[in-house]
Symmetry: C5
Subunit: 375 residues, 5 copies
């Protein structure tokens, strides 16, 4: 099982979750800024129709020129955003609007759908659970859907789409019989489905917290609740715009998407809604847990203070009595009584018993004698 309450190393790069790209104020619109750490750009092209399908690896942008004319469905997968020259050549070949190129290259952007010049730009995030620690990683994937072709721009050369490539190669399912719009759907569907395992991790972490919160209502639990709320907020920022995006995709008549494929996009829409549903539920649970933590701390304090009060209330008056008979006055008749000492002890015992009865009656002992609830 992946989720652990408090993993040994808490070396998560938390600042990543709220990363975003923004232009230098006053910069030229459409300017692209290459991240010096970005991977060099590679282009893989897959072309297919119901009869044949082939793949070309590491081609040059000008080799894609043919995609626009032939009647095959073309999928140009651009991996790595580090080579400005290649990216600009691709933009030229496919006649991308400068703003589209800007959104594709300057990552991360907010997920969005932009319909411009017979092309549909879809930007969304590929979310994956961290393999060896808690949290998730996020990476931007941009799709440009044209008449007969699909461009995908990926930050990393991840291998999420290998199953899909196999399905094209082996002619499994419907993919070879339908157009670039169905291919776009298959990619979007994969990306949406990626959210579920991440969510499941949070479900498990919340369940673990439910058990821990009473046994150990400390700073660590508090930190974990805060982290979960923080990360769910980041997840929500990434998924929330998709709701609108798919809603637009399914409602607006768009000539790039065929009637047959709409029902598939609607399926994506329902999945997005479901993810948001689960996310909101987790957020509400995490917020309830914060209340529970506060109550739990308050309860713990009650327990501690009650003990202090019981002990103090019994022994402070008794100590006072002992103090009286420790005074050195010359004339203190009781001191001379033969049974004085024992009468004094008896008095003390009575007071102690009276006090205990009072506390028992008010139910102040239940903290100590009730079995520890395993809630």
């Amino acid at each position: 099982m992946r989720a652990q309450p408090f993993p040994p190393e808490m070396e998560i790069q938390e600042e990543d979750y709220f990363d975003y790209y923004y232009d230098e104020p006053g910069s030229e619109p459409g300017s692209i800024i290459i991240d010096p750490e970005a991977l060099p750009t590679h282009i893989n092209l897959i072309e297919y129709n119901p009869i044949k399908a082939y793949k070309k690896s590491d081609i040059q942008p000008k080799d894609c020129q043919s995609c626009l004319n032939n009647d095959l469905v073309s999928w140009a997968d651009i991996q790595g955003l580090g080579s400005e020259k290649i990216l600009r050549e691709i933009a030229e070949v496919f006649r991308l609007h400068p703003l589209i190129l800007e959104d594709v290259v300057n990552v991360p952007q907010r997920p969005k759908l932009e319909d411009c010049q017979n092309q549909l730009l879809i930007i969304l995030h590929c979310i994956k659970p961290n393999s060896n620690e808690m949290g998730f990683t996020s990476e931007q994937i941009s799709l440009v859907l044209g008449k007969n072709y699909l461009l995908t721009f990926q930050e990393d050369a991840i291998d999420d789409f290998s199953k899909l490539r196999d399905r094209i190669k082996n002619n499994q399912g419907k993919v070879r019989n339908l157009g670039a719009d169905y291919l776009a759907y298959l990619i979007l569907d994969t990306l949406i489905d990626n959210y579920f395992p991440v969510l499941e991790d949070y479900g498990e972490r919340i369940e673990l917290l439910e058990d821990l919160i009473v046994a150990d209502p400390t700073q660590k639990t508090l930190k974990e609740i805060y982290n979960i709320r923080r990360e769910l907020l980041a997840l929500r920022r990434s998924i929330w715009p998709l709701r609108n995006l798919f809603n637009q995709l399914t409602r607006e008549e768009n000539e790039l998407i065929s009637k047959e494929v709409y029902i598939y996009f609607r399926d994506c829409y329902y999945h997005t809604i479901q993810i948001l549903d689960i996310l909101e539920t987790y957020r509400e649970l995490a917020s309830s847990l914060m209340d529970v933590l506060m109550s739990s701390m308050s309860n713990k304090m009650n327990e501690v203070v009650t003990l202090l009060t019981i002990i103090s209330s019994i022994f402070i008056p008794l100590t006072f009595i002992a103090g009286i008979y420790g005074m050195n006055f010359e004339f203190m008749p009781e001191l001379e009584w033969h049974w004085g000492y024992f009468l004094c002890l008896l008095l003390m015992l009575s007071i102690a018993l009276l006090m205990l009865f009072f506390f028992w009656q008010r139910g102040w002992f239940k903290f100590y004698f009730s079995k520890k609830t395993k809630w």
Copy 2:
């Protein structure tokens, strides 16, 4: 009465409430995954018109072929989702879209309404109170409404619809005189009405909590409030989509639903609204109870700390005075006074009375002398 504050065994499988099905990322759309624990699939067919009605049990998918052609209303009730072959044959006979079959088989899905290819898919949940403990069970029921037929897919072979089958058999009410749309309504109505007894249980649990919260503001009460909030959240996830679903059903003109039946679907819509109303009320009450619990704990602490302060404030100064006259200085004139001891006691008494007066004036005794409120 079912609701109990804290039932002896707290062995509720809580994780069930937030269960959901999701595709393996990258899997083929329309693929169906048979749960190894699912029951084997049985098909029961009821066919009727105003004049006659008969029932066929445990038939084969191809026996349903006739439903599509004859002018009887057909209700094919498919129980158990464990036999992939039978399910695929049904899909073939009734020409179900692959995505519909996927939603029907891969349970649980979010409730939804899908209008596709002259068929209407309605997915919702059958909610039932747990018979011997708190909480509820949830099971998916899918309806596929066609021109002249209705398919129902159930996870379990529950017997919620036996009364309905009797009404068809005995020609009670209008059911035999109307089409498959009215039959669909009758099933939906039964499923919606199932929510009410579950809600009633929560109403009772909240009422019990209102009594317990002051008498016993402890971890157990806290746990119970959290559980109620958690389960109401799960219930809300199940009922919330229905609001939209029925709203769509009553507003959109759909050729599968006759004018006469619209008013019945509107009735379902109003019932859904009412359930949501009650649910929100309970959620707000549960949230108020959390505030009450916090206040109650705080009040309890005040009570305990006030006692500590009263006892300490009276006896600590007195003990100090006793301490003074317990010192062993050689020259302490008071010790030699004949009435010194009694003057000292008098002084102590005065201080104690002064303190008590001060506390009484500030009203600090009201915790102890006011009759325990039974709120």
Copy 3:
């Protein structure tokens, strides 16, 4: 004045506020369930036109047959929902849809507006303050508005409409000159206006709480705040649907309502909005009061703990010094000094004064020397 902070008997039937009717799951739609405690059904008929008006008491359903044909405006007031036979006959005479009859008889329903078969069904609640205690009672009133007639179904034989009957009888105001739609308005207006005195009571209870909350931040105050929040929630459930209902009534063109009367329904709409406004204000005030209560308890605790700390911090060190000179070591030079005792007392006094100065400087005495604020 009606509102009292804590009335002597707290015997309010709280569970009533959240009562609602629901069908037995699987029951026949349109089935009516007679509550065994319901009053027997009586029908009073008032018929009028600008010239004449007469009233028939305790008539039979079939006597209403004429209402449908003559050109008088007819108001059939059905009181008591206990006689199934009579209710069914009425439904037959006026051709009520089975679902309408169900909604009318199976009380309480959520307020709603249903337009069906040339009849307009309006369901709402008659709210009245409890005469001898806090809270309110709620009762369903259903109106069926037809072409020339108005049916009202009441649970109880209350006498809210006697003034209205007098106005019809004495031809006061416009009522005799307008149709059944205006009569419906007059009844709705009376029912809406009934909410105001109930709201006023809550306003007074909240004002009383504002005074009590600091003087007496105890369980009773907490209980009262919770009760107010609870009852306002119940009130809101009853009034909220009316907003939509009247909005629909004023916007949709309906042939049963004449142009002249629309402005009156709009007036009802504005009153409903105003009630909701006040209700939300009270809800926010009650929620603020909960915060104030928490702060007030926290402040009280500060006050108590500060005293404890002052007393302990002064006397515990002094007692320690006294303890030192109470030790029985054989060689303790100070004990033999002649002024040792007085030097020791002087030391103690200095420490005490130093401590007091420290506390005074930090302002810890302000709790005790500031005049009790009467906020």
Copy 4:
């Protein structure tokens, strides 16, 4: 500067803020109830066109008859709502709908816009800061805009419009060149602008609270926060409906308002939005301040309890040691050591230093040695 944290006399009539008028249930619609304390009614008439302008004071209703026919713009300013006869005559002269008269006379109503019978009724509130204390006063002003005339009904004979009258008299600005609609705008604009100084006072009170809340987190501060929240709630109830009102005025085509004047009403709309913006900001700040107060109290308690713990933890063990050597056992070897007393003192000193080191290490002294933050 007007705003003071806690003015000497807290004699604000708080109940005024949530005042509202409601009909006696069952009363005749359109009935008007004269408040016995209302001022007697006076009518002042101003008539003007671009060329001339004159004013008639204290005229009779029938003198207004001419307004309807001549081609001057007429502004009838009705001050005081105490004379039923005069008010009814005005209604007759200007043919006001009974419901309009009711809304105008039975104050205070919720702000609203009603378009009926070629007349536009606008009800809103004139808000003014209290001159000698905190809070504000509210008074209803009703405008009835007709073809060529404007009626204003004021509760009091306030002099808010004297500048406006001067502008008409002296032909300043555009007022004499435009119609009654522009006059209505000028009055509305004045009323809206009246909200700003009141808001500014709340801004100052909140700023004062920000300084006070830490220095003095007591009941008075709590009361002040609660009062501000309460009064902002009242303000919001008065301004919120205006947003909708002006939105309607600017969007709907109304023949009473000329094209030229629409831009001015849009300006009012923007001012209303701005007031709501500021109001919401203040409400959020007041709500944040409540959190700050709670934290501040909690911090104060921490400070107090930490001192108690430090003092107790050091001196209670020491007192115990002193107690041991104060016992009267016959055989206690240490007592007879020559340096026993000094060894004992040394032991005590070591323990005290150890404790102090422990507390210093945990940072528990920072409350006392950090300079008081002036936040």
Copy 5:
């Protein structure tokens, strides 16, 4: 790095954030009030077409007359709002509506979009981080877009647009090839992009707080959280209206904006949405931090009180025993036993160990022996 937890001088003029302009109630609409501290007005004119571009500095209003007629794109940049005469002349030359001039001069206004008389008025704020301290400064910039010209009104002579002027001069990018609408976009884009660095500062301040909040949960942290919430509220007031503004700009067909430029305004819209997204995220984080602070304080108190209880519970009973044997009764048999003293010490030790075991078992030591979490 700019963000510091608590900068040395806290001399931020906080009241600036919630500044707003409002008219004196009753003042003439369209009147302009010159702020005595406003800078004198200077006009710089840039005119260009694809072929040529020139700049005139410090010209007179009448020199702009030609802009309206020639076919160059003209950008008149008016800096400083201190010279009423010049501003009125500009208004005359460009035929500005009085309300537009009022909005432009009487700063600060709420951001808005006003379409009037063939001109488009856009008001928004130029936000910049404070260079040497925390927080930001805000200044109003107004754009008036006409057929062939653009007016910009700036409070200050800031140099935000120098890069833009260079691009025009050097014919970089598309600016010289497109109209005044594209120029307006470039200015808006720069202003929107200015928000990002300010937001980034808040992100850093929140991150710093996340580290500080547990190590130092004091008044200063509380003050910093409150300040962040306060300033984010101010930022939100400034950015929120832009969302609507750009939405309107992109949806409404406006003849002043060419088809080609719409996609650019849509880009501004997406940036605004993104800023709001980040802002809301920060607001939620700041609000969560307040919860964390409360929990942290509560935890600290638990820690302190637990120590007090442990020490008191062990030593108070022991001191009592010592007190008993310090009494001076004549007959106390134990005192005379030879091993009495040692037996007594043994008894005390046993009690102490028992208590320690009890506390260890309840886990009360974990506060002190667990390594300080660096969360």
